[in-house]
Subunit: 154 residues, 2 copies
DNA sequence: CCATTTTAGTTGCCTATGCAACAAAAATCT
DNA sequence: AGATTTTTGTTGCATAGGCAACTAAAATGG
């Protein structure tokens, strides 16, 4: 395990950290200005959208959406109240609840995505050429894979 | 203003986003495990540490520490209760309060930094060679400068 | 110089989210 | 099978942080 931290790497971290928060705040502001739900809702809806049958168990969804299980329970409560998803008990396992994306959920996902996409383009992608993007994919692919092994986050 | 979003750029965003949250969660977990305050406290103390005279006005600190003014007021309340900083009214402007870092604040900053530094090294820098770090500095320097202009975040 | 507007910081109220404790169901062990 | 342990989701309580309304002080303008 490498523990040294050269100055150049540290500076890379500072800029990465600041950039993230700025972009994140800008995109959240875009969504709020458009009267749309936050990225947390998007992340959850999107993971369901990707899942086979458009449903996942609560704990799977928590893991994908980078939330604690209790945090996910609360988020699902709100999504369900808005009829963007439905809770469905699992016939095979009485402990398990499935979150099932609804048609309205898909519709909302699309509306969020229109704004989110524009935000990514404007606040992030606009500063990158193709080579930059390729290198970021490569580097962050490595980092997120390593973080997953470490058990960090999701 | 570029509004297109090629698939490669989008994938770069996804990995960037996921990596950030995973590293962030891992470092916060390291700090909590060591019984230390969160990164938000570190960020505020560090900005004061960098400032000439180790003090800043509240609104400056809010901007640097990526917080709203009200959020900063609350954070400063806690830091002051722990005697890591002091509030000092500005003699030249009765509206202004300065947050002044104390010796205990510097000491705490150092203790947080020991763990934070190790976290950056382990969860982020360990995956990067020098060329990667250089490219990330360059790219995120560009991005955070652009985000600053857009008024995004701080 | 007083009235208005602007600025700086604080406070009330709200939402988001985590941890620890819990309940229910399943898995495991004997 | 019955008892214990593990897993899954939910809930109580706590903290963090934002927005809008507020107060005090300074700047502006008549």
């Amino acid at each position: 395990m490498k523990t040294s931290l050269p100055a150049g790497h540290l500076e890379a971290w500072r800029r990465f950290y600041v950039s993230f928060w700025r972009i994140y705040a800008a995109i959240e502001a875009d969504l709020a200005a458009a009267g749309l739900p936050s990225l947390a809702w998007y992340d959850a809806l999107y993971e369901l959208y990707l899942a086979p049958g458009r449903h996942l168990r609560m704990s799977e969804l928590a893991r994908c959406a980078l939330l604690s299980r209790s945090g996910l329970t609360r988020l699902v409560d709100k999504l369900e109240k808005e009829k963007l998803i439905e809770r469905r008990p699992c016939p095979a396992d009485g402990r398990v609840q499935h979150a099932q994306l609804t048609a309205k959920g898909v519709e909302t996902l699309r509306r969020i995505w229109a704004v989110y996409r524009a935000g990514i383009a404007r606040h992030f992608a606009a500063q990158l050429d193709d080579a930059d993007a390729g290198r970021l994919r490569e580097v962050f692919g490595r980092i997120s894979a390593a973080a997953e092994k470490t058990g960090a986050g999701a």
